[in-house]
Every structure is written in structure tokens, then in C-alpha cells.
């Protein structure tokens, strides 16, 4: 049986956060912070089995509905420019099935005392267009949660 062909897309999401680029970058870099804001909703859990935020580092995480963390994500950090840019790849699997690979670029630009974040997800989906819609919805919800995280977490002195 031939594998279905791959579907490619580029998703661009933009947000303005009332926080400095340093503060936003910290929330992106810290796996404990990411475990809080990185899921699309309160009913979805995100657990890091391995976290290594550096160029060449690998994170392994699992997410899914509470009690059923069926998705496994391998994040490889390729480029990190502190407070400015993170470029990574994300491989999403469900069990033995590889569902998609994304090249994710996050850019941070100061706008006055705020920060513009632009997330570009260049995705190759093996499972069809559903993965693309799912990736877009997931990232969009997580970026909304990041705003809440930035408002509520105390800034380190």
C-alpha cells in the first residue's frame, strides 16, 4: 500500500504581549513555564520527559487529554538568539505513527515596552489536512495562554 502523500503548509501567528522580550523569552525557554501555558486547554496535560533548551538540545514531551497523553513530541533546537529568535523542529507522533514534522520559528521584536511575537509553523503533515488545522489551533491556543502566564507569573527580581 502506498503511503498517502505529504501535505505542506505555512501557518503564521502573531501576538503582542505586555512584557519585555527578555520576559517573553524566559517563558519560552523554561520547560516548567511551558508545561503551564503550552497546552491548548485546561483539559489537556503537557509533561516533559526530557528538556534541554540549547542549540542542539532535544526536548521530549507528551500531551493529550488528562490521563491519556497519547501524543509524543520531539523538539530539536536548531537556532537560539536570546530574546530575539528560536528555531526548532517538532516531530509529532501518536504511538508508532509519525503524524507531522514542523519547522517552527519564533521571532520576538520590542514594540515600546511590549513584545511582538511572530510564530511561523512550516509543517509537513503525513496524516492529512487535519494535522495542519490541529497544529494551527494548538499553537494559537497556547499563544493565548502565554498572555495569561505573562500577566500572572511574578517577574524575577
Amino acid at each position: 500500500m502506498t503511503e498517502p502523500s505529504v501535505t505542506h503548509a505555512t501557518i503564521v501567528l502573531e501576538r503582542i504581549y505586555e512584557a519585555s522580550p527578555a520576559r517573553v523569552f524566559q517563558a519560552l525557554a523554561d520547560p516548567q513555564a511551558r508545561a503551564r501555558w503550552g497546552t491548548p486547554s485546561k483539559n489537556v496535560d503537557l509533561v516533559y520527559d526530557k528538556a534541554d533548551f540549547r542549540v542542539g538540545g532535544l526536548d521530549i514531551s507528551r500531551c493529550g487529554p488528562r490521563g491519556s497523553l497519547i501524543y509524543r513530541v520531539e523538539t530539536r533546537y536548531i537556532d537560539i538568539e536570546p530574546e530575539q529568535r528560536i528555531v526548532s523542529t517538532e516531530l509529532v507522533c501518536e504511538g508508532w505513527n509519525r503524524l507531522s514534522v514542523s519547522l517552527v520559528t519564533v521571532e520576538l521584536q520590542p514594540v515600546g515596552t511590549s513584545t511582538r511575537l511572530v510564530l511561523t509553523d512550516q509543517i509537513a503533515a503525513f496524516g492529512g489536512k487535519d494535522m495542519i488545522a490541529g497544529s494551527q489551533a494548538g499553537f494559537s491556543a497556547a499563544l493565548d495562554n502565554l498572555a495569561v502566564e505573562l500577566r500572572h507569573q511574578p517577574v524575577d527580581a
Binding site: E3, E74, R85, Q122
Partner: protein, 154 residues
């Protein structure tokens, strides 16, 4: 702080080769075979070449002009379906500077006795060091080198 910029783009290149998908896949996945055709036409002297063809494995290809910065291509294999598909991410370093990060999908389709290869590259070009059109041209040249290699063998 340095002003940063990223240009994102996608290009698709197709080639028709007179060899079966399994032979094309072999040329793409076997280190000895790949070493023979995956060269930089401007700098044919091979530098470092290592290849670990498995999911999560890395490939490194380094070289460059005698008196210039070393160019290093480092790839990670993200998905492999034998004889059908290879998905890999790679970055390019010129000396100490990372100039791009890309996600490449190669799909192989049987076409009569031959193979249609479709390469889709989604790239992030960093800080203006290189352009998508230049990369597309260079990638096309590499696929022509693969074609020449396969023509020799057929």
C-alpha cells in the same frame, strides 16, 4: 543587539529518473552511494562526510574553498518510509554563522520503469545571508547530480 530577520519560503522541485524507486532510495540513503554524487560543484574536494541514515540519525557534510570559511550542512532524519519518503531537517553554517534552517520532504513515485522525485523544501533564511531562490538553484543542481549518478548505473 544585531537586527534579526527571517524570510520563510517553500519551493518544490521535481525530477524524473530512469531508475526504479528502490534504486533512487538507495542512492539517497546509502552513505557510499551518496558520497559519490552529493558534492558541491564549486568545491568538489570533499571535507567531512558522515551519515547515519535512521530516524533521529544525523548527516554532516562539510567543505569549502581553501582560503574561505567552512560550509557545514547538518541534517537530522525525521521520517523515513523505505522506497517512498524521506523527511529531514537541516541547517547551513558558513563558518560560525547559521544562515538557514530548512525542512525537506522527498517523495518517490513510480513512473513507468522510472521514478518521479518530488522535493519540497520549507526554509527559514536567517538575517539576509542567503536567499530562497539561490538555495532552490543549488538544490536543483544537486538533483541533477543525482540524475547523472543514476544514469551511470542504469
Amino acid at each position: 543587539m544585531i537586527e534579526r530577520s527571517v524570510v520563510h519560503s517553500t519551493f518544490i522541485i521535481e525530477r524524473l529518473y530512469p531508475a526504479a524507486p528502490s534504486k533512487v532510495f538507495f542512492a539517497l540513503s546509502n552513505a557510499d552511494a551518496k558520497r559519490r554524487w552529493f558534492t558541491d560543484p564549486d568545491n568538489p574536494m570533499p571535507g567531512r562526510f558522515q551519515m547515519d541514515f535512521r530516524i533521529g540519525g544525523k548527516e554532516v557534510n562539510a567543505g569549502g574553498p581553501k582560503d574561505g570559511p567552512i560550509h557545514v550542512y547538518t541534517a537530522t532524519y525525521q521520517d523515513i518510509v523505505p522506497d517512498q519518503r524521506i523527511v529531514y531537517s537541516y541547517d547551513m553554517l558558513f563558518g560560525e554563522t547559521r544562515i538557514s534552517v530548512s525542512l525537506a520532504t522527498i517523495e518517490l513515485f513510480a513512473d513507468g520503469k522510472g521514478t518521479r522525485l518530488v522535493l519540497t523544501e520549507q526554509g527559514a533564511f536567517l538575517d539576509g545571508h542567503d536567499t530562497s531562490s539561490s538555495r532552490e538553484h543549488g538544490t536543483g543542481v544537486l538533483l541533477d547530480l543525482l540524475g547523472a549518478f543514476l544514469n551511470e548505473k542504469t
